[in-house]
Amino acid sequence: MTTNELGEKQEVKPYILVFVALMALTLITVAVSYLELPTVGAVALALVIASVKGSLVACYFMHLLSEKKLILLTMAFTILGFLAVLLGPAITEANTVTLD
């Protein structure tokens, strides 16, 4: 761990590792899409991979892992709001949906 001029610890190596992981997951996402999985399985798998990639970006590039409590609290509230916005309308329509 090196200390930079402004006195904050900054390690570059994890960024490179995250970059490699994101590239690999991108290739996996594309490869899986050619497998012709049933819709529900394909959607679930693609969203799981995208969530893993998104978490890597948020935790490392946006350094949420080492962030102060206030920022984490803000994000927690944001996620609640996001889920409400995302699922609220869908739930009202749930009885009309048929999955193929």
Binding site: N4, F19, S33, V57, K69, I79, G81, L87
Partner: protein, 198 residues
Amino acid sequence: MSTAIPYTSEPRPDTGVHNVKLGIWLFLASEVMLFGSLFAGYILLRVGNPAWGAGQGELSVPLATLNTVVLITSSVTMVLAWAAAMELDKTKFRLFMGSTVGLGAVFLVIKYFEYSAKFHHGIFPDHSTFMAVYFTFTGLHAAHVVAGMVYNAYLWLPNAKMMDSDPRMFANRVEAAGLFWHFVDLVWIFLFPVLYLL
């Protein structure tokens, strides 16, 4: 009359973070709601539409994959630019921030080719529900890429001299620009499978 607006670049004791960081995170919270409501619209339109996906076959998965790689790479150069700004290494900062702006431009050029291929085949947002969703999502996302590039370019060239006069404030600016840029990358990570692959 000139009045200096009081400010501080240091973390505040009550919030624990510097003001720019809290500000950009609150802004990103509103951005999550903006894109979240669009995703909610996507879900509703998709599950309620037996003819979903009309025109999806026209989309180019190789170009979109390339754009994913370009945008993820630009996120890495962005974070390296921030590291350089904190090490007060102006040469390295200029190199990485320039790369970030350049990769943003590459993303937009590829997007331009994708759009013009659609237009060439007479595919516009009124082609189908799917294409309306596609153009709304990618258009809004591209607008964010443009906005990020404008501010990144400002930090890259005219503003970089601030690294000598007020390195703390400059590093804060680069950090905030980075948080926005990573968010734009994050949105694309979800848009790519949702629009092109599923």
